[in-house]
Symmetry: C2
Subunit: 215 residues, 2 copies
């Protein structure tokens, strides 16, 4: 397995947590998202992932892209420990929580969006930071509500073991704080985060622990 | 089954196609996204979906949200015809294509984003339309590349029967054209669209065929 990622990418961070939980150690190729206009936008990387985004996972000559698709594939092919429950309703609840982050918070705050806000739309850094905090606030408030109302809540978002929801939540909380959002307003989410932070799979996946980390 | 949606929502449109393919007819409750600041933002609807977005599907008192989670649930509980293949690599390929649209094109062009661009960021309509076309262009070009290079390509995106990838593609092509993008630049995608348009499940799911449709 060959993993293309970047230390600060939320989507790559999700995959790193899952690798840790599953006991996998794929070879790592850093793709620097900011150097020279972004290595991810260059033809060499687009040959691997035509979308020009990280992460990508190459397995037996096949390239997997999109973090949620990679995580579902990991769970189907390396089923212990499980990232998704068995019951279809429970699976839908976990996936909806994960997508609230992975589809509705993260992509609107991604580097390419912020670059467009600053470039073509000529927005100052302050307006860009406000944009990020706005969508983090909106989406994490929904996550807090979804987590609180769940009949399946436990030590982790949906149960007594970490899974796909937690894997998406932890990097997003980190990203929100990086832009100055006070995450203590989400007591259930920070309680879950504390439970995750007791596990090496989560702490070792942090951006500052990666070989390509920068200050 | 009770389906909350809106005729023009891409995410609701995806679900309608799947209902048609599976032969299901859930009861429909329209949620008007533009009337009175948006019915989806009001407490009555947020009780159903705390995120304040459509669609939602209520089944046996449980609420499912996020279109991709609803589609996966539909495929797990109503398995004929299948929306996802059996092989894990093939499933990952289908999901990555679906997420390229559902996570990286659609959410950045959603109504709430365009409202923010026009409101707090004071962008003129022309800049907003350019924004939408930019992300449609970028994302659909990646979809075209993913579709062309696939060893599993067929009459539909990944095979001889429609599935999750096609369900996400058709509403996104419709959305892109609504903002003036020329989709004929994507020959493989428009070829797939023609195959889909031969099926009633796709034509009957169109926005202008819905009970809440407006001119």
């Amino acid at each position: 397995m060959l993993f293309h990622g970047y230390f600060r990418s939320s989507a790559a961070w999700r995959c790193r947590i899952a690798f840790g939980l599953k006991g996998l150690s794929p070879d790592f190729v850093p793709v620097h998202l900011r150097r020279d206009g972004g290595e991810q936008t260059k033809p060499a990387y687009r040959t691997i992932n035509p979308q020009g985004l990280v992460p990508s996972l190459t397995v037996d000559g096949q390239v997997l892209t999109q973090s949620l698709a990679i995580l579902e594939w990991l769970d189907e092919t390396h089923p212990q420990p499980r990232l998704l429950p068995d019951d279809p309703f429970a699976r839908a609840e976990v996936r909806a929580f994960a997508l609230t982050i992975a589809a509705d918070i993260h992509p609107v705050n991604n580097l390419r969006i912020l670059t467009y806000l600053k470039g073509p739309l000529a927005q100052p850094q302050e307006a860009v930071d406000t944009w990020v905090r706005h969508w983090c606030q909106d989406g994490l408030a929904a996550c807090e509500a979804l987590a609180v109302r769940s009949a399946r809540r436990g030590r982790f978002t949906f149960g007594e073991a970490p899974g796909l929801a937690d894997i998406c939540l932890i990097p997003q909380l980190g990203g929100a704080r990086r832009f100055g959002l006070d995450t203590t307003q989400f007591p259930r989410l920070t309680e879950i985060e504390a439970a995750c932070n007791a596990l090496p799979a989560f702490t070792e996946a942090r951006p500052d622990r990666q070989p390509d980390a920068e200050a």
